[in-house]
């Protein structure tokens, strides 16, 4: 309750026009500097080196590859995601720090692609995590990849201005739905070490759909990993 009040207060303070300037500046920088984590699940990964190196040079757009989810802003899922991999992709996504964006590259992330009838391949990536941009194709050319990244940059720049919720906020606000889909696939005892609900509470990102019957199910099986406090 107190936290909500604080958030409201914070939002009230934002009437200061300069505050918007500051926010816009940060948004601008965010759109100009993107660290991407390429989760190379499939063949689409092969198109990334040309996009990064001298032919197309992503760095001129401010996009750099990073290797851990902690540092990254974009999660590039390049190719089909098997159910087992999906668990890891979800963990990786949850370990990324907001604002975080997901790009699904290749048709496989859209609908399973050529693996559409495979029992082992997850079909629709945005059932399990909010995907900002899909770059379809089998595989998409580096031009397409860059086009998609440019589209993402535009989105980032405009999101806060247009009062649109960013996709990553969806994950917190509709956690119950996403969790439900994950549980459907992995069973009811599914959990990651990242406590999304606690995170949503801490940063005031809770929404209507954060809690629900799926999170109740989770609460029953979850072994909460509280941070170790220093104690004297």
């Amino acid at each position: 309750m107190k936290k909500e009040l604080l958030i409201k207060e914070k939002q009230a303070k934002r009437t200061n026009p300069l505050a918007h300037v500051f926010d816009d500046f940060i948004d601008f920088c965010q759109s100009k500097s993107l660290f991407m984590l390429h989760y190379c699940t499939g063949c689409g990964a092969i198109e990334l080196p040309p996009a990064m190196t001298s032919r197309f040079d992503m760095e001129r757009l401010g996009i750099q590859p990073m290797v851990t989810p902690r540092q990254a802003d974009i999660l590039l899922v390049t190719g089909y995601v098997s159910v087992k991999t999906l668990k890891r992709v979800i963990l990786t996504y949850e370990q990324m720090q907001a604002p975080k964006y997901v790009i699904g590259i290749c048709s496989c992330t859209v609908n399973g692609g050529m693996y559409w009838q495979s029992y082992a391949t997850a079909k629709k990536l945005n059932d399990y995590m909010p995907v900002d941009v899909y770059i379809a194709g089998c595989m998409p050319r580096p031009e397409a990849v860059l086009e998609g990244l440019q589209r993402l940059k535009e989105n980032i720049k405009n999101d806060r201005k247009q009062q649109k919720g960013s996709a990553w906020k969806e994950y917190f606000a509709n956690y119950d739905t996403y969790l439900g889909n994950q549980q459907h696939l992995f069973g009811d005892d599914w959990q990651t070490p990242v406590d999304i609900i606690a995170e949503a509470k801490l940063y005031g990102l809770e929404g209507e759909g954060t809690y629900g019957k799926n999170t109740e199910k989770l609460a029953k099986v979850q072994q909460p990993l509280l941070p170790q406090e220093m104690k004297l």
């Binding site: 989810p69 990786t92 370990q95 990651t192 070490p193 995170e199 941070p227 004297l232």
Partner: protein
């Protein structure tokens, strides 16, 4: 009755009290009090430390025409205050819960808490006796006392390695004592004017009247005697294991100061009375290698080799004990430069080393108290459970590694500065190599104990009780304050330098004054803390609040971490380095030691077999022949 006599009486009373009361609980309260009183007495004697005065005790003994007397000068005072403060810290530490645990664990299995208290006071008393010695004979007496008192302390841990190490130590110590005795005998027989006591001044006289050869052997005998106690190369093998296996606070006390008695004697004999002139006069083989360079190189190698042995250890206590051996090298390296900055650095390093070594040992003992192990491969992540101990260890390792702003930096800086001024590039590199090795090894120490993954079995342990925390915090406060304001200590050092006839350092509160690059720790620490302040401002005022996460919420390539996966990176912490230098650990010294031991045991077996042989008549014949021969020889000598 002057202050020194009162001090001796106090020591005697304390010794008596602890001897009588050692098995009663009241002793736990009394023992720290006695050490506290000793500190007070030493503070009252502060005039010695600041003015370079000498207090001579009224108490003296005359045996067989030898007069033994005791005195206190700035040098003795400097070592005495370190000794007593270290003892105070150890006594407070062991008087509370640690003592209780020790009783529960070891009483009846060879450990004896009362005896441990007694061993501590005996150590302190004998060390003070040694420090107060006024002539060579009292030095020798004190020397023997110190050796046996340390032995008593070392055997109080009921383990086989402890016993073995203690026996090894005693063998080494006896060898050293014999060397000292032989040196005394040489001095006695070469004295021109013997006045009833073996005064220190006679060393200078005897040296002046000797040829190069005997000079060299005399210096060597003294060196062997003192180097063994100090653990200098090549006599470094006994110390680490023996100290590491001593019961907790005892190890802290011994590690802090005990082996520095060797340095004390070395300062008196080699620095003060043999002097630079003689050392440089004694050239060995090549003309540019003289005794001074030899000692300097021994010191430099002592910094390197034990430090890199420490790097290999995976037991926290042994690691620290090996560093104790290594740091001794810096002290001698500074002193052997015979200039104001170097010797001040060497002397100051005694105090600095004692403070952080005791703090580190006590921290490790605290960890052992809670977890029951000092094996670095079985610990980890304790920082959340024991934050204050972590703080103490952090301060200690910064001191040990010689980084600003702790006191280890000041003394090491002085040693480096002196090596720079004297143009000794290789010694300089050797000293820095030692420091770098220390940084590597102490990071391993703190990482493997306090950082990284917390083991499941350690999830419920808590900080150690205050009786253990207070001495640890006190020692770390000393480490920090003397680092921040070395000027508090430097007057003592200057007075010591004056006493032993070295050039005196020009100092101020923040450090030392020197035309081409001095050191002002107040500025240095100030700048550092300013930097930390700005860093903290940047950190806390920019950016959003951070979410605290559990250790299992960790990037492991998408892997789900859980309690049954031990992912703490601790064993063989520096594999790359060990790939390269691992082959250089040949254990040559150990091999040498074993060769000597086997040779000795072979000879002793030989004699034993002779005694046990079936023809005792043979023995009789041999004895008779030898006796007759010697009688003949002597009578022949007389008749001619």
């Amino acid at each position: 009755m002057n202050l020194l006599d009162q001090f001796f009486i106090l020591i005697a009373v304390a010794l008596l009290s602890i001897t009588v009361l050692r098995n009663f609980r009241i002793n736990d309260k009394m023992a720290p009090l006695w050490y506290g009183l000793m500190v007070v007495m030493l503070v009252r004697m502060a005039a010695v430390a600041y003015d370079g005065a000498t207090l001579t005790s009224a108490f003296n003994i005359e045996i067989l025409g030898f007069n033994m007397h005791w005195q206190f000068n700035a040098l003795s005072w400097f070592f005495a205050i370190i000794t007593v403060v270290a003892a105070l810290a150890s006594a407070i530490f062991m008087s509370g819960d640690w003592g209780r645990q020790y009783r529960e664990l070891y009483e009846g299995q060879g450990g004896n808490y009362g005896l441990l208290q007694l061993a501590l006071i005996l150590n302190v008393a004998s060390m003070l006796l040694l420090l107060a010695s006024g002539d060579l004979l009292s030095l020798f007496i004190g020397w023997e006392f110190v050796s046996w008192a340390s032995f008593l302390m070392m055997v109080l841990m009921p383990s086989k390695t402890a016993k073995k190490a203690a026996v090894k130590y005693v063998v080494y110590a006896m060898f050293g004592a014999m060397a000292l005795l032989a040196a005394l005998a040489i001095i006695y027989s070469n004295s021109v004017s013997f006045s009833g006591s073996l005064e220190f001044e006679q060393i200078t006289q005897v040296f002046a009247g000797m040829d190069k050869g005997p000079q060299f052997s005399l210096a060597l005998l003294f060196f062997i005697a003192f180097a063994i106690k100090m653990g200098l190369l090549p006599f470094h093998l006994w110390q680490a294991v023996a100290y590491a296996e001593t019961p907790g606070p005892g190890a802290a006390f011994l590690g802090a100061i005990s082996s520095r008695m060797g340095l004390f004697a070395m300062i008196i004999v080699i620095i003060q009375f043999i002097g630079l002139g003689h050392l440089q006069g004694m050239s060995i083989g090549l003309p540019f290698i003289n005794m001074q360079t030899l000692l300097a190189w021994i010191a430099a190698l002592t910094t390197i080799i034990p430090t890199y042995i420490a790097l290999q250890q995976h037991d926290a206590k042994r690691l620290l004990a090996w560093h104790g051996v290594g740091q001794g090298g810096y002290m001698l390296l500074g002193l052997i430069m015979f200039d104001s900055i170097g010797s001040a650095g060497g002397l100051m390093h005694v105090l600095n080393h004692a403070s952080y070594q005791a703090a580190l040992f006590l921290t490790v003992v605290a960890v052992v108290y809670r977890t029951g192990t000092s094996d670095l491969n079985k610990l980890g992540g304790l920082v959340t459970q024991m934050p204050l101990s972590f703080l103490v260890m952090l301060i200690g390792i910064i001191g040990l590694a010689g980084l600003p702003p702790m006191n280890g930096f000041v003394s090491k800086w002085m040693v480096y500065r002196s090596l720079l001024l004297n143009g000794e590039p290789l010694l300089f590199v050797a000293a820095v190599l030692g420091t770098l090795g220390t940084i590597l090894s102490v990071y391993k120490l703190i990482h493997n104990t306090f950082l990284g993954q917390l083991r499941v079995e350690h999830q419920n342990i808590r900080e150690v009780p205050w009786s253990m925390m207070v001495p640890m915090l006190g020692l770390s406060a000393i480490v920090f304050i003397t680092g921040f304001m070395p000027g508090l200590i430097l007057p003592w050092i200057a007075s010591v330098q004056e006493t032993i006839g070295l050039p005196v350092i020009i100092h101020h509160l923040g450090g030392i004054e020197y035309a081409k690059g001095g050191l002002d720790m107040i500025w240095v620490s100030g700048i550092l803390f300013y930097g930390f302040g700005v860093g903290a401002l940047i950190f806390y005022f920019l950016g959003s609040k951070a979410k605290r996460v559990h250790q299992y919420d960790n990037y492991a390539g998408g892997h789900f971490l859980s309690a049954d996966v031990k992912y703490h990176y601790s064993n063989n912490f520096y594999p790359g380095l060990m790939h390269l230098i691992g082959d250089w650990y040949r254990g040559s010294f150990k091999w040498m030691e074993q060769v000597i031991v086997s040779a000795l045991s072979f000879v002793s077996k030989l004699f034993e077999n002779m005694y046990r042989s079936r023809q005792p008549v043979m023995l009789l014949v041999i004895v008779v022949v030898v006796a007759l021969f010697s009688i003949y020889k002597n009578t022949a000598g007389v008749s001619s």
